[in-house]
Symmetry: C2
Subunit: 76 residues, 2 copies
DNA sequence: ATGTAGACTCAAGTCGACC
DNA sequence: TGGTCGACTTGAGTCTACA
């Protein structure tokens, strides 16, 4: 559907995925803790969705990490 | 409309506002640089809108600050 | 220069199903 | 367990206008 995958979103998604995996959580478990849908978490991890800040904060809290571990700023 | 103003969104909005002001930018100028609408920037500053991560990144870049200056994490 | 309001569009986010 | 699809609802984001 969305071939229009943004680089930043892909990075964020990859970070969420590896953090989730390192916690031994399934997408379903993370979705449940965060109160989002399982298919949506999947889409975010694949960088297909431009997540809102409040939901991103919920995810980072569920993963018990700081924002800088999910969104890594580069010098520009 | 939205009496349901979230504390985190209000904080983010306040931070954006004071950062914008310290740059001597109007909402209109910031909106133009970021490619968002002036009325929307206003709503974000008032904490009325749950902005998406990509737009938040655009704003922080336009203000030339790091994410941690806009979204301040508290220990929990 | 900003707040608010209303009407609008389209993407965020839900949900159930199947592979 | 995770990807994808389709139909759906809600809310992000636009735009014009007026105070």
């Amino acid at each position: 559907m969305n071939t229009n995958k943004n680089k930043t979103l892909i990075e964020i998604g990859n970070n969420i995925r590896s953090l989730r995996l390192s916690r031994n959580l399934s997408q379903e478990q993370l979705a449940f803790e965060v109160g989002l849908h399982r298919t949506y978490i999947g889409a975010v991890e694949r960088g297909e969705k431009n997540i809102t800040i409040l939901n991103l904060i919920k995810i980072k809290n569920a993963l018990n990490v700081s924002m800088s571990q999910i969104y890594i700023e580069r010098e520009e």
